[in-house]
């Protein structure tokens, strides 16, 4: 199976940053990344749904757990992406460690 360890380490570096998680049901949730685990389950704090008028289903939720299996995209702050480091890490991974 595809090795998720690299992305796990990567997301751990982003803890404390503001991210937007887009789910496979088209819901997009913005919040502060609180934690991530080996399944890439994500915990967000201070959350708000991006389009609250269309999706008022989580109006009284401020902290949430998102199952890794339903995440489509994670939108990151530009300064949170170290392209060189990711290049190196993915190349190393492609060579087989």
């Amino acid at each position: 199976m595809f090795n998720l360890q690299l992305f796990f380490s990567y997301f751990k570096e982003l803890v404390g940053r503001e991210v937007t998680v887009e789910l496979k049901n088209d819901l997009a949730i913005r919040g502060t990344l609180h934690s991530v685990d080996q399944y890439l389950n994500i915990k967000l704090e201070n959350t708000r749904v991006v389009d609250q008028d269309k999706y008022p289903h989580m109006l009284s939720v401020r902290n949430c757990f998102i199952r890794g299996s339903v995440v489509r995209y994670v939108q990151l702050p530009p300064e949170g992406v170290d392209v060189e480091l990711l290049h190196d890490a993915t190349r190393r991974e492609a060579r087989g460690g």
């Binding site: 789910l23 269309k54 401020r62 199952r67």
Partner: protein, 90 residues
Amino acid sequence: MLLSELISVITNDGRNIVGILKGFDQATNIILDESHERVYSTKEGVQQIVLGLYIIRGDNISIVGELDEDLEARLDLTELRAHPLKPVIH
């Protein structure tokens, strides 16, 4: 952590189930007590359907949210209108 707290679960088929968290495990299987489903529609306010004690299999869970008591108290569900959430498409 959140045990005995009121939580809101959104399932892969787009349902919203609210209840008191009694237990969970590694696979995100969840036990909810005094649970009810909140059914959203554009024609009328949110309907609440009593479910009681429920076990939800982790495979079928999208989001687990902690319900903020103050925000919840201010929320008027009878005035809230929205399309039901779409199911998750993998």
